[in-house]
Subunit: 361 residues, 2 copies
């Protein structure tokens, strides 16, 4: 059974050109006078400081498909389903978005075609464009031979995934059976981490901000009835659902005890979180420990989890490390969970992705 | 084996008098011209609106010990370890805090003594008072015969639980073997829930804000080295740890991949989250589903989970309901997890609390 990585990012060359041409977030900055400094990627307003450590290093592993393939070979990954890394096209002016999306998606399609059988892609939507242009791109993506869904952040059209204006887009995605890979970017307001957060490097926003942002976004989709209106809309949630598997019981209990929802007649007519977890939601296995992985499996089923690496993020701190620690932690979690059940382990490492994303065709 | 409820709140009469005498948050408002309206409790700034639905109803179940005992009898709970409900004494002027804490703690001690064997208490600290007065109250609480630890929010002295100024207090708690029951109150900034949050009643702040606040607070304690400096400090975390069991792997991975922490020499010399989960942290079983409960047990061990109800919060929406749904969901989760293992179920329902909190003496 092949190993498939469903959570692996790239900035294809077309997108890199966009970032290099900019000087505000998001952008890539070069230092021609100091080649040793390397290029820096700045994707969050908080990273856009005037210090020399502005942003984070960005190298060829972000945009060169050869680096992706070398990483796959080193980690025995047969197939990768690449997605544009955050912040996608959320930031584009409305009148540039549709054309840029086509270029970026075509660039991904080209890379996949050049490495037949090894690469597939999730497309990116021009969410700042008028809705009909977004729908057009969904129609177009569904015909690209190597695309298998779309990647999307939690902002939607700018006010979250519970925005009724997204219904046209959800309808188009459902109609074409296009999976949504839901991924965080915006985190939480930095005030929640307190006055000493910088002592802890990037740990609090990365370890907690990202999964909490994701959980809030999914809960808003659930509460606004997205899956009641679009019962066949499928979503692959990054980082094993944020914290959704763990908090699902509390979410349902809070709903069942909410006087406002009862008064509005919203109890009893809805699909609950367990139903959605088992019928609409897929979870990647990017969770770094068997405790979380088991909870994700308990919530959605071993047939709905899919291995991922989050490459090229979380590189090893030691340069000569062969296998990346971040990859090892995730594959170890699968092995530890299914020590005596190689069939389910193989399903999570690749079989589920092959089936759900139709990768063998 | 007795059933013990370690997560159950009261506002003892002394505290109710304080709330009734106030007209800003936190306070209790009566409507003498409209007795049917009942009293209203306002504990969060966001609840302090001018609408008639200001705050939430507050009845005798919040302050009358007879109501607590009736609830226990109805749910076959043998022993309750009561704690002051949020926002505790966080809001008190510095010069009033110590005396008020003594009065509140003595009021709880009196109630417990009047119902020998059925009630124990977690004390409340005067955190706005000078540190020596806080330590004095810890000394005093450790001699009160029915007290078994203290309840504390995530604010600490005002800037979080990673505040080095808390070290004197952590040292006193560790010295006396006083368990800290860590409980959320402040939630997250409301902006994170988006423009349509009010459509969903209180679900998002209660279901997500509370556990996320708790998780951030515990991660800050871990990262600031609280458990490295106080290796015997024990903390009982509300709501099964917020989301800590699920995110523990991601927290450790983000630490291991953080260039800043490495540069500062902070990797390798620290106790990791798994060590702390299994040696310093206890978790209540207020999680409303077996998926989350199993993850909590996987993270900390079946000997570290303790049943709780969160009474008097989350009352049933139907008045004539006998057993409260919120209680039933939590006890069902224990039964469902340990269907074939009554020993571990009994430990979580009461045995662990009897042992850890020394309730039989």
């Amino acid at each position: 059974m092949p190993v498939v990585d469903v959570h692996t990012h790239m900035y294809p060359p077309v997108y890199m050109d966009l970032l290099r041409a900019r000087d505000k977030v998001p952008y890539v900055k070069s230092f021609p006078d100091d080649p040793a400094a390397g290029d820096r990627l700045v994707i969050l307003p908080a990273e856009d400081t005037t210090s020399t450590s502005r942003g984070r290093p960005i190298g060829a592993e972000y945009y060169d498909v050869k680096e992706k393939l070398a990483f796959m070979d080193r980690h025995h990954i047969d197939v990768s389903v690449i997605s544009l890394a955050n912040p996608w096209l959320d930031w584009l002016p409305s009148d540039e978005a549709a054309e840029t999306a086509r270029k970026v998606n075509d660039d991904v399609e080209r890379m996949c075609a050049e490495h037949e059988g090894r690469l597939f892609g999730f497309g990116t939507l021009p969410l700042s464009a008028p809705a009909e242009q977004v729908v057009e791109e969904i129609d177009r993506l569904s015909k690209l031979p190597h695309h298998r869904g779309i990647v999307m952040g939690t902002s939607g059209l700018g006010s979250g995934l519970d925005d009724p204006a997204l219904d046209t887009i959800y309808a188009a995605l459902e109609k074409h059976g296009q999976l949504v890979f839901l991924h965080p970017h915006y985190g939480l307001p930095t005030s929640v981490y307190g006055d000493r957060a910088s002592d802890y490097g990037h740990v609090l926003p990365l370890a907690l901000g990202f999964p909490l942002e994701t959980t809030i976004a999914v809960a808003r989709m659930l509460l606004s009835g997205v899956w009641d209106r679009f019962p066949k809309l499928n979503v692959l949630i990054a980082h094993s659902g944020g914290t959704l598997p763990f908090l699902a019981g509390r979410i349902e209990s809070c709903i069942a005890h909410d006087a406002h929802l009862k008064k509005e007649g919203k109890l009893g007519k809805r699909r609950d979180v367990w139903d959605v977890l088992k019928n609409n939601i897929y979870l990647d296995a990017v969770i770094y420990a068997d405790v979380g992985l088991k909870a994700a499996i308990d919530a959605s089923g071993a047939d709905r989890l899919m291995f991922g690496t989050d490459h090229p993020f979380f590189p090893p701190l030691e340069e000569d490390e062969g296998e990346w620690l971040s990859v090892k932690l995730n594959s170890q979690a699968v092995r530890s969970t299914f020590g005596d059940d190689p069939k389910n382990a193989a399903a999570i490492m690749g079989g589920n992705a092959m089936r759900v994303l139709r990768l063998s065709s």
